[in-house]
């Protein structure tokens, strides 16, 4: 099976799974515009490769490995959408389809370069979040300087999530802050330096500010800024 096809399937399963909890064969078939029988074929093969967990009649869910691939593709797709909309100024209706085709062909290096050129956008033009890259950097400035000197950057070994995805009262350490230098500076002046432990105290509805606790201080932070503060994903049971 071609890599492109694998990626397309993983993407579809990713979308269905985040919407419904799991991806049913019929739903995938409808999404990919193919017969349910051929979907079953593909799912078996994906399951053999270790990308999905597949149980007949119940549907498919992504494995860690499959999720990683889908995440990367989603990231490329949304970055490309930003590029096509903001830089190339392509007609809105064509952006998605074009990005769908390009996402399979661009290299990781191109992906990074795109991210830097677009100033590390947090959302695609349709409002979906763009996940952070998997580089072992603490801020975008670090990535920028690495880009200039062509310095190789290690892959981040821990999974990171935006602070807004923490459960209430949960604690973790700051791993990466996305955004321009001024905001990063302001946040670090208030005590949000890399490696500092923070906890999420409260979220407000409709994307309002979040309240966090850092160095014995409570701060209310704009939701869009908070979404760019990434922390190490706390393991299950760790609070």
């Amino acid at each position: 099976m071609a890599q492109e096809q694998v990626e397309e399937y993983l993407e579809a399963i990713y979308d269905l799974e985040s919407r419904n909890g799991s991806a049913k064969t019929t739903a995938i078939a409808k999404c990919m515009k193919v017969a349910p029988a051929s979907v079953t074929e593909v799912l078996k093969s994906l399951s053999d490769k270790g990308f999905v967990q597949y149980e007949p009649y119940r549907g498919a869910t992504l494995t860690e490995e499959g999720k990683k691939i889908a995440d990367t593709i989603k990231r490329k797709h949304r970055l490309l959408e930003v590029f096509l909309t903001d830089v190339v100024k392509l007609n809105q209706e064509k952006v998605h389809d074009q990005a769908c085709r390009m996402e399979h062909t661009i290299s990781e290096e191109t992906e990074d370069a795109l991210c830097r050129m677009l100033d590390a956008p947090a959302h695609c033009p349709h409002g979906s979040p763009i996940s952070p890259c998997n580089k072992g950097v603490g801020s975008c400035a670090e990535c920028n300087s690495a880009g200039k000197t062509d310095m190789p950057v290690a892959i981040r070994d821990k999974k990171i999530i935006p602070i807004t995805d923490l459960d209430l009262e949960q604690k973790s350490r700051i791993a990466f802050i996305r955004g321009d230098c001024k905001v990063v500076q302001r946040l670090s002046d208030l005590g949000l330096t890399l490696g500092t432990t923070v906890s999420l105290l409260k979220k407000t509805p409709m994307g309002g500010p979040v309240e966090i606790l850092v160095r014995r201080t409570k701060l209310a932070i704009d939701h869009a800024i908070a979404e760019n503060i990434f922390i190490e994903s706390p393991g299950p049971g760790e609070t």
Binding site: V137, G138, A141, C181, D189, P209
Partner: protein
């Protein structure tokens, strides 16, 4: 958000500094640490609050009399760092470095020692004669945090005094320590950063030998390493080579840490702060069993609740307004009845010029009194209570999302609410916004908020003679208009907007002195600006009136007032008078028509249109003055002109639409 740090009063024309002081000291520290309380404790009532020259940043100073000396106390803005993030930071560091105060008192919050020490470390680099007041030490104790102030003093090499400023504890010790500091101090030891940083600071210091800046050498070196734009520029003018070297050294640090150098420095400072804090803090282990929820947590469960929180906001702001106007109307009626014993305050339009002017001035005075005392004063008093208790920050959080639509963030709710009292102090309070764009935008929207004077017009014309629902509809329409105008202005105005990053202080029982000071600071601007404008403006208008300019003015305005707005021709002059005082519209109407039953002379549609136009057409002359002094005359005129056009356009359309339904 307690105290005077963002209160805003006094015209720029007033004397902005105390004369004949023997010494000058400055209070510096983070916001919400009780700095203003200490300032109040030290200086008493004799305070001057104004702007830093040429800056939209507040400057508060007062006089401390101690041991026969006159000591000028400057309350610097509450800030978290000495970068160039905001004007407040620049103003503060330049004051300390360039004006050489005889002592700097760093007020720090005992409950958040690390973050406060982060700032203390930067203060120490500026090397003024310095001491530390560890404030709110009682609250920290309650949280199980005990601080060894003696050890802190040894580690930092500066005097440290524990205080509970709100109850006056530690203030005598503080004043003694200040006197001691002014008589002589030892130079505190330098706090060292990591090796790779110190090496590079050392290199830059060795190069700075030939360069003369008015800043301390080590501080200059650190700022060069941090690529501080202001300091870099100063040094570049003398020796561009040093700047280049510093840039290379900064680049080396950046490649070691992989972070912008300013962020590396913040992290370094926090490391030092954490280390010191760990040495001086002893934590009492929390008691057995589940942790008891603090009062703040319990209150926040309601105040920040997705449903209850909004209900609370509506109840509190709505209640505040309703209460103010219910009680205010009673007191106002009583006051004007009382004052009318002295002189009839209906316009005198014949007789000697002096009589006319005096009578005009008196009516202006009465109008001022009957507006400020019953409406504005209680409103601001209650608002200051809310502010000092900590609840206003919760309102900011709840409404942040909505304010985004206007290109502002949650903090802007403070000027907007203040605007319901009087636009003048509300415009001063726009200083709390971060960027120039956000300051201007907030001020523009404040001018659209119906202040008490405009509310009197709406109530007097519409609620009294049409019905209360139309009056409320006007209010609702005004909020809608603020949203629309805000969006348009946000899209068209150049400049940047930043999101909300705000400290959430714990709730506490408001301090009487802070509340009174805050209320006074805000009301004071009414006395210096609004009162004179009322009195002089009223006298001039009275003279106009007596000179028989009424009919020509009305004729001139007739095309707009009669043809487009569908109002009686006589209304023309009342709109002109309204520029001086909005509530004068009603008074003038009564005199011109010889009746206070406006329903007899105007149809409901006309009443609503007149109230609508009065509400929107221009901020009064006091507001134009303040806009001019804060943002420049160009912006003040642009805002005024656009609002006149908007009011006329909206009024005309409303006249045509309302004629269909009413």
């Amino acid at each position: 958000m307690s105290g005077c740090k963002e209160c805003k009063s006094c015209p720029a024309t007033r004397e902005s500094t105390l004369k004949n002081a023997d010494y000058t000291i400055a209070l510096a520290g983070n916001a919400n640490v009780g700095k203003s309380v200490i300032f109040n404790q030290l200086t008493g009532v004799d305070q001057i609050i104004g702007n830093w020259p040429g800056k939209t940043v507040e400057r508060a100073e007062g006089l401390l009399l101690h041991a026969g000396k006159r000591i000028r106390v400057i309350d610097l803005p509450g800030i978290y760092s000495f970068s160039t993030y905001s004007m407040e930071e620049l103003v503060s560091r330049d004051f300390i470095a360039l004006e050489h105060p005889d002592a700097v008192i760093n007020v720090i919050d005992a409950s958040a020692l690390e973050r406060n020490l982060f700032f203390s470390i930067q203060l120490l680099e500026l090397a003024p004669p310095m001491m530390i007041a560890v404030n709110q030490i009682d609250l920290a104790e309650k949280k199980g945090i005990t601080i060894d102030t003696g050890k802190l003093s040894t580690l930092l090499g500066v005097p440290v005094v524990p205080t509970v400023a709100i109850r006056g504890k530690g203030i005598p010790a503080l004043t003694n320590a200040i006197t001691g500091l002014m008589q002589g101090h030892t130079v505190p030891p330098v706090l060292r950063y990591g090796k790779e940083i110190e090496e590079r600071i050392g290199k830059i210091i060795s190069l700075l030998g030939m360069v003369t800046t008015r800043y301390p050498v080590r501080w200059t070196a650190i700022k060069l390493l941090e690529r501080d734009p202001v300091i870099t520029q100063i040094v570049r003018e003398q020796d561009p080579g040093i700047v280049e070297t510093a840039g290379v050294l900064a680049g080396e640090i950046e490649s070691i840490h992989g972070e912008p150098v300013c962020v590396v420095m913040s992290a370094e400072r926090y490391q030092v702060a954490d280390r010191i804090a760990a040495e001086v803090i002893s934590l009492r282990a929390p008691g057995e069993g589940p942790q008891k929820k603090s009062l703040t947590d319990k209150l926040d469960a309601v105040a920040l609740h997705p449903v209850l929180g909004y209900l609370a906001v509506i109840a509190v702001i709505g209640g505040l307004l309703v209460w103010t106007f219910l009680v205010g109307a009673l007191v106002s009626a009583f006051l004007s009845g009382f004052l009318s014993q002295f002189e009839q305050y209906r316009p005198v339009i014949s007789g000697p010029l002096m009589d006319i002017l005096l009578n005009g001035a008196f009516t202006g005075f009465v109008a001022g009194i009957t507006l400020v005392v019953p409406y504005v004063l209680p409103f601001y008093l209650l608002l200051a209570v809310m502010e000092d208790s900590g609840y206003l920050t919760r309102i900011s959080v709840m409404l942040d999302r909505g304010m985004h639509k206007l290109g502002l963030h949650g903090k802007a709710i403070i000027p907007l609410i203040l605007g319901y009292g009087c636009n003048v102090p509300a415009i001063y309070s726009c200083r709390i916004m971060e960027t120039p764009k956000q300051k201007t935008l907030a001020a523009f929207l404040v001018t659209l908020v119906p202040c008490t004077a405009r509310t009197v017009v709406i109530l007097g014309l519409v609620a009294a003679f049409v019905n209360i629902w139309w009056a409320l509809a006007l209010y609702a329409f005004d909020i809608l208009l603020i949203i629309v105008a805000g969006r348009i202005a946000f899209k068209t105005m150049p400049g940047e907007s930043v999101g909300l990053i705000m400290e959430m202080p714990d709730y506490h029982v408001p301090s009487l002195s802070v509340v009174l000071k805050q209320t006074w600071a805000r009301t004071k601007s009414l006395i210096w600006i609004v009162f004179p404008a009322y009195i002089i403006g009223s006298a001039i208008i009275q003279a106009f009136y007596a000179a028989g300019l009424l009919t020509p003015v009305n004729d001139l305005l007739a095309p707009v007032t009669v043809l487009w707005l569908g109002l009686p021709a006589l209304v023309g002059i009342t709109l002109i008078f309204g520029i001086v005082r909005k509530e004068m519209t009603i008074l003038t109407l009564a005199v011109l028509f010889h009746t206070t039953n406006f329903a007899a002379i105007m149809s409901p549609v006309q009443l609503v249109v007149l109230a609508l136009v009065s509400m929107l057409y221009i901020p009064c002359i006091s507001v134009i003055l303040v806009l001019g002094s804060e943002f420049g005359w160009k912006k003040a005129l642009a805002i005024s002109a656009s609002e006149i056009v908007m009011a006329i356009a909206v009024g005309g359309i409303a006249f045509r639409l309302l004629s269909l339904v009413m």
